[in-house]
Amino acid sequence: MTIQSASSINNAIHSFKPGKICRTLSGIGRMIPDKVSDFCDLTTNASMKRTTQFAILAACVVLSRYIQARNDDEKREILTRDTGMLFTAVYGVPLFKKVASIFINKRTGIPIAHGEKGILKNINPEKGIQMASYEQLSEWLSVNSTKSFDGIKNGFTGFCVNIKKLGGNLIKCLNILDKNSKETIKNIAKSVGINEEVTNKNILKVIYKAEKSTDKGVQDNLNKLKELFVQDKNGMNPLLQKASNLKSATGFTCIAATAFVLGGLLPWFNIHHTKKLYEQNKAKNNEQPKILPANNSNIINKFELFKKTGQLV
């Protein structure tokens, strides 16, 4: 293919002649301190950084609403409702995804997340363990054709090393792809001179030796394993389908849990708590007239009120 120079294309419409207003605005923009503009930086999807999001939600939503609230009841409800929202949206959901990824990985042996483990490394929701995207899952757990393994460093072994490195259990993964895969692996192991039981620990050794082997039987069996990872017409294989479903189920749970906590539980709590407080207050008010006439002394009445309110009248 011949490479065309950009300078020979569409030149006339691209000369640099910004208008006066745009130049002035850009000049104003240059005066903005770097730290401020970096704090406000946006992605191409117009999303903010999580720290910026947290700061804005705290200052412009929670605090602003609190200050502008009409009475103490509204203030209390804002604190319960919006502080809950702040932590659930910014920290709760990512944390849930991290925990769910570890749990799914332990239970199924399928890797659906990547990143460093450890509490300190996972305090910032944007760092540490991150649930994989659907695209990443497809790259990790499937190939377009058996030829695609040639396009991966160290071929099929490299592909399997990556699954293991991500925390996957290859034996379990192959079992999801095909129940008979255990037999195939056993046969390969025997053929390459590994007589011990094949586990997740030594399976890479078996695959590595099999890839190096020139024996036709070994290559045939290895191809059987390779074919298991090939995508069907829907771009799926059973392992990828399962990983995808588990990821979706986690995402769906997050939406459902958010709806339950933020949309259901917190407002419900606010409504019932305020109601209860008023009912209690009403009950106290009903009791008061019975007490006050009995003590026909102004000093005693004032003492009763002091006991109730904690203020001298």
Partner: protein
């Protein structure tokens, strides 16, 4: 590491290989009557009405979730916000103190709906509107993040010094690919990637989407062949990450930034022909950087101001409608107490 063969690289060649691909072994789909392999989401099970329903349900959830993820964080947030907040909160407010009032609490529902419908979407729609406007006013390079813009500026300056204004786009992308892959791939392989980038650079608007995908695919395939390289910041763990001068970026986002930059800045410099000089390059970059800073800061500033103003919009009632029906006196609890104390 052994230099890579160019023939292995193009994404298209991998895609073409699909036509000859062998079908996967179908035995994997057959349930043999043994135990469910793992918890919950068992798929590809062909027996039992309950399991069929479970599969259907899971696949439906899968499709919805994929749509949400494709739409990005905006869609995810809006879906969560609308289903999780707007609807249930308005519903609860509508029925708040209904027994005491003898009718639904219209005022509370109205306040709740106004507050929720304005809060969530405004956090994305306002910045999004600013970004759209910036493309019109300041050109597509104002969409490029400031740190990337600085790196692109250095690369353009070097490319300009090397070969003046001849084939600037080609030289620019050649330098980009050199920075991305150093000597890990052959020159021929690099030229294939540069070709893909140039096709995207020269693309008509209706071709941009497909050509972006092609470049992204080529870069991911290249990353996969390289495998793991700490120096280049490439890893099989996530081959959709690329590293430009120490700054890790998503390949898709990077390709979009390249297109936004080159179709604006590189074309502008190229259009100047022989009149192009370093002063012009500085002038263009200063303009774009200033525009970017202004747009992001004013976008976030405007959004913050709007969020702070929202209470003024929903606080239309003098009294908090959440208390309606709880007290015969419309005033708040505080006022009740004050009156009590005055007695």
């Amino acid at each position: 590491m052994e230099a890579l063969k160019a023939d292995n690289l193009p994404y298209s060649s991998i895609k073409n290989a699909n036509s000859n691909k062998q079908k996967p072994i179908r035995t994997a789909y057959v349930k043999t009557g043994s135990k469910n392999p793992a918890f919950g989401a068992s798929v590809h099970v062909n027996e039992g009405l309950g399991k069929k329903a479970l599969n259907l349900g899971l696949n439906a959830v899968d499709k919805i979730q994929k749509h949400i993820e494709t739409g990005g964080f905006i869609v995810e947030f809006l879906v969560v916000d609308f289903i999780g907040m707007v609807i249930p909160r308005t519903y609860q407010a509508y029925h708040r103190n209904e027994k005491e009032l003898g009718h639904p609490n219209y005022a509370a529902a109205k306040e709740e709906f106004t507050r929720e419908i304005l809060s969530g979407p405004s956090m994305f729609l306002i910045p999004f509107a600013f970004l759209c406007a910036s493309k019109k006013m300041f050109g597509s390079a104002s969409h490029v993040k400031r740190d990337t813009l600085k790196k692109f500026r250095n690369i353009t300056e070097t490319a300009f010094k090397t070969d003046k204004n001849e084939n600037l786009a080609h030289n620019f992308y050649k330098k980009i690919v050199d920075k991305l892959y150093d000597s890990k791939i052959t020159d021929k392989a690099k030229e294939v990637i540069v070709d893909d980038f140039l096709n995207l650079h020269n693309a008509k608007p209706n071709e941009v989407k497909n050509l972006s995908k092609k470049v992204t695919g080529t870069l991911i395939s290249t990353n996969k062949i390289i495998g793991n390289d700490k120096k280049l910041g490439i890893s099989l763990e996530d081959s959709s990450i690329i590293n430009l001068d120490g700054k890790a970026k998503n390949v898709g986002d990077f390709v979009e930034e390249c297109r936004n930059y080159s179709s604006d800045v590189i074309n502008s410099i190229s259009a100047a022909g022989k009149n192009a000089n370093e002063q012009l390059i500085n002038q263009i970059h200063n303009f774009k950087e200033g525009a970017r800073k202004l747009i992001t800061t004013t976008a976030v500033g405007t959004m913050s101001a709007f969020l702070m103003y929202i209470p003024k919009l929903y606080n239309q009632n003098k009294q908090y409608p959440g208390l309606a029906g709880l007290t015969t006196n419309p005033s708040s609890k505080d006022q009740n107490e004050k009156k009590e104390l005055k007695k």
